[in-house]
Amino acid sequence: MAQVSIVIVSHSAKIGQGLVDLLRQLVGQDVHLESAAGFGEDIGTDATYIMEKIQACPTDTDVLVFFDLGSALMNTEMALDLMPDAIRQRVHIVDAPLVEGAVAAAVKARGNFASDEVITSAMQAKGMDKIWK
């Protein structure tokens, strides 16, 4: 099992589940993945659900959170405020595009890299040209 777990916080449960499906194909069972997306059946995010999903990650992993929009970030930070220090210290909210960042992170995490290197890979997805000339 990798050193890093990945949690997806999106406003849409479908986006979260679909992204976990996509990542699963890349990493198999090597990386722990969670979707903490949607507000029940509705569009939105839910701090208590995010908290549950972060807490569901193996305690010997660092947890990288990828999110879509600002309100998802706020609810993630709210979730962190509700959690004990010991867990919060293992959680990193990553400043990277949701899909592109999570894909880059998943592949790197599967290579059993530590969280700082996985985060760097994810953040590199930011400036990257997606269309080759």
């Binding site: 507000f39 029940g40 509705d42 569009i43 939105g44 995010t45 839910d46 701090a47 208590t48 929009l69 600002g70 309100s71 706020m74 609810n75 930070e77 709210m78 509700l82």
Partner: protein, 203 residues
């Protein structure tokens, strides 16, 4: 005077106001956002009022905590973590108090503003609810007599309407850039109504 009872009245009344204002707030949000602020707020404070009625608190802080936790699980949008933070800061400021005096009232509002800024990273003028909470806090720092509580309602209403001309820098409306000018910020309106009901229940 803000007591455990008047606080419960405030929440019940605010929940009713939000139910009435639901479509208005949705329309405001539809202009510059995703059109759900009314739905979010009405649902959130309905849950808060119900949970507070089901499990009455023995102090104002405890009641605030119940409201904050209820909002967390029931709002869904940006306003969820923001208003939840407000009530959790109130909970800390008013912990163990069965009545809140003017000094503690002002301290609670200041703590809530600080919480909102930590949560949302918005500055004054970014066309968010901060544009209401910040001047309300200033008014309270100036006049701390309970009899002038009415002043904060005026401050809040004026500030909420003044968001109309601003260009949004935070939240979904920021995607609109200059086109966000000309519409009031929905979260500022719901905050102004909060102050109306808070003061109304407290006086």
């Amino acid at each position: 005077m803000l007591t455990t009872e008047t606080f419960a009245t405030f929440i019940a009344n605010y929940a009713r106001r939000l139910a009435d204002l639901q479509e208005t707030l949705n329309t405001l949000d539809n202009n510059i956002g995703d059109g759900d602020h009314g739905t979010n707020m009405a649902r959130g404070f309905k849950a808060a009022a119900e949970q507070l009625a089901a499990k009455p608190a023995t102090d104002v802080g405890g009641a605030c905590n119940t409201v904050g936790m209820a909002l967390l699980g029931s709002v869904g949008g940006a306003s969820g973590p923001l208003y939840a933070t407000v009530f959790m800061r109130f909970a800390t400021a008013w912990k163990g108090m069965t009545s809140v005096d003017a000094t503690n009232f002002a301290a609670g509002i200041a703590a809530a503003l600080e919480g909102l800024q930590t949560r949302g990273k918005a500055d004054v003028g970014d066309k968010t609810m901060i544009d209401v909470w910040h001047p309300v806090n200033q008014t309270l720092q100036n006049v701390r007599e309970t009899t002038t509580l009415q002043a904060i309602v005026e401050t809040a209403d004026t500030a909420a309407l003044a968001t109309k001309q601003r260009i949004a820098k935070k939240g979904r409306a920021a995607y609109l850039g200059e086109r966000s000018a000309g519409h009031c910020d929905p979260g500022s309106i719901s905050s102004a109504v909060l102050f109306e009901e808070l003061v109304d229940a407290t006086i």
